[in-house]
């Protein structure tokens, strides 16, 4: 705290740096988490339609449903009769097919929800091989594209997260280093009057913890407020940005993450930087011991 009074410019810079780093980190994380949830929700929209031959007996239906249900990778199964399919078709395309053709051309079908996107192709082939199943459709091309996009997102999410953590940690680290360097005379005096390394270290640890916590609270506040505003906006832009995740929950999780990151990075950065600084003195002595001056 004394440093705040003595060097307000450095203290404000320190606080701002932590706030900015964590806010940027929080917003990017928020965006990426939302995007991730969006992709996951797309995955949930994938369905496999198994069209059946017409003229099957009730026993055939039971048998087919039993066989499909026993396949691995089937999350749920739903029977859609030709009448239901016709009604849905009519609602979707505003057409009355029976009026045009004089009969209902839609076959009975089972709609399956796969438990994983990776299993869709295999599952479709297995369903297609079942007696009584006429045709299977699931949008092969779209599923493949979605899988590629998902994989790309997962990889880039991981790397971006690593880069973000690294950037946040190093930017906080730099400012802690600057703070310690600005007090090297104090440290030198402390060492000369017999202060132990822990006595020298703890004010820096406290300061790191304080700035980490303060920065995280402000950043979390920003994200929470702006996030709340975004939720309102999303409601009106539902078509373009579907609400695929409970954003309030996401905001709370990210705020907690920021708090944990701010406190731990603030504390650990100070600990490592102070240790490195103090070890520098020890290294100087050890280098000296090894020197050949004779």
């Amino acid at each position: 705290m004394e440093n705040l009074r003595r060097n307000p410019f450095l203290a404000v810079t320190h606080a701002l740096q932590v706030v900015i780093s964590l806010t940027v980190f929080g917003f990017l994380l928020l965006g990426m988490a939302y995007l991730g949830a969006f992709f996951v929700s797309l995955q949930g929209m994938v369905e496999v339609s198994a069209f059946l031959h017409t003229g099957l007996t009730a026993q055939d239906y039971v048998e087919i449903e039993k066989q499909i249900g026993a396949l691995p990778g089937v999350e749920s199964i739903k029977y859609v009769s030709p009448e239901e399919a016709l009604e849905k078709f009519g609602k979707t395309y505003h057409l009355d097919v029976t009026e045009m053709l004089g009969y209902n051309p839609l076959p009975p079908q089972y709609i399956l929800k796969p438990s994983s996107l990776k299993e869709v192709e295999k599952l479709a082939a297995q369903v297609e091989a079942i007696d009584g199943v006429w045709q299977v459709r699931y949008g092969r091309k779209e599923v493949r594209t979605l899988m590629k996009v998902l994989l790309g997102f997962q990889v880039s999410f991981f790397f971006t997260l690593m880069i973000l953590v690294w950037a946040t940690v190093s930017s906080i680290n730099n400012i802690v280093r600057l703070s310690i360097y600005s007090r090297r005379t104090d440290i030198r005096i402390m060492q000369l009057v017999g202060a132990t390394n822990w006595f020298i270290r703890w004010p820096f640890l406290f300061e790191g913890l304080f700035f980490g916590l303060f920065g995280a609270l402000v950043a979390a506040g920003f994200i929470y407020l702006l996030g709340e505003a975004a939720i309102g906006m999303l409601a009106s832009l539902r078509i373009f940005l579907p609400q695929v995740i409970d954003l309030r929950w996401l905001l709370a999780v990210i705020s907690l993450l920021l708090l944990a990151l701010g406190v731990s990075v603030g504390f650990l950065s100070s600990l490592f930087t102070a240790n490195r600084f103090l070890a520098g003195e020890y290294r100087r002595i050890e280098d000296m011991r090894r020197m050949d001056v004779l």
């Binding site: 003595r6 005379t185 104090d186 030198r188 005096i189 402390m190 060492q191 000369l192 009057v193 017999g194 202060a195 132990t196 390394n197 006595f199 020890y282 002595i285 000296m288 011991r289 020197m291 050949d292 001056v293 004779l294």
Partner: protein
């Protein structure tokens, strides 16, 4: 109390600041270390409070070889060895009281003890009226007194002074050395590195001359 045994020490390869120094300083002695600038006076003092370590030889302080001292033992050595410098090394943003108290705080002394001891020692060095003054508000002599107070607050057995009068006028310099003699008369071993000829000649103390890293003279009742 302090013993150097064939000490060789340097700051760069091939350049020795101390060359085979052998020296013995007894308890409660007052010793002037004299010689030209760069002759090795400061290096000799720095070896005592383990700010540097010799490449060869042994330095015994309180019968312990400080060259072999562990890192964690150094703070405890420095609590028993007070050091004052030519450039004072005071914290500019702290008052005289706070600067002196700092040395006690650094060793974890309780606040009650600090409140009692700091005014006493500041009074002893003649700064009782300047307790709230910042270093910038004090004269060079007063700053050096503040430094002495800081070094004395831990009641050291040894007080090392590295050119304590280097930045002071002759009268103030005499005042500082007189103060150091008072410290010595209380039982503290005092070692003063100086090139101030007048000061050394005025006080008839043991004088050790260091030139080019070697001890070239050691006189009981000195003179430059």
């Amino acid at each position: 109390m302090i013993r150097f045994v064939d000490v060789w020490m340097g700051y760069a390869p091939g350049v020795a600041a101390l060359r085979g120094v052998n020296l013995r300083i007894e308890k409660q002695e007052f010793v002037f270390i004299i010689g030209v600038t760069g002759g090795g006076k400061s290096s000799l003092l720095r070896c005592i409070y383990r700010d540097v370590v010799p490449q060869r030889g042994k330095v015994f302080v309180f019968r312990k070889d400080v060259t072999k001292m562990l890192r964690r033992e150094i703070p405890y050595l420095r609590r028993r060895v007070g050091v004052i410098f030519q450039d004072f090394l005071l914290l500019p943003h702290k008052t005289a009281y706070a600067n002196v108290a700092y040395a006690l705080e650094a060793r974890g002394a309780p606040p009650r003890m600090i409140k009692q001891a700091v005014p006493e020692v500041l009074d002893w060095v003649g700064l009782s009226r300047k307790m709230k003054a910042l270093p910038s508000e004090l004269s060079g002599g007063e700053q050096q007194r503040m430094c002495i107070a800081r070094a004395l607050i831990n009641k050291p057995d040894i007080l090392l002074a590295d050119e304590p009068t280097g930045n002071l006028d002759p009268d103030t310099s005499v005042g500082i050395i007189e103060l150091l003699q008072r410290v010595n008369s209380r039982g503290t071993t005092v070692v003063v590195a100086t090139h101030d000829e007048k000061v050394v000649n005025r006080f008839k103390n043991r004088t050790v001359r260091v030139e080019y890293g070697r001890i070239t003279a050691d006189r009981k009742e000195g003179g430059y």
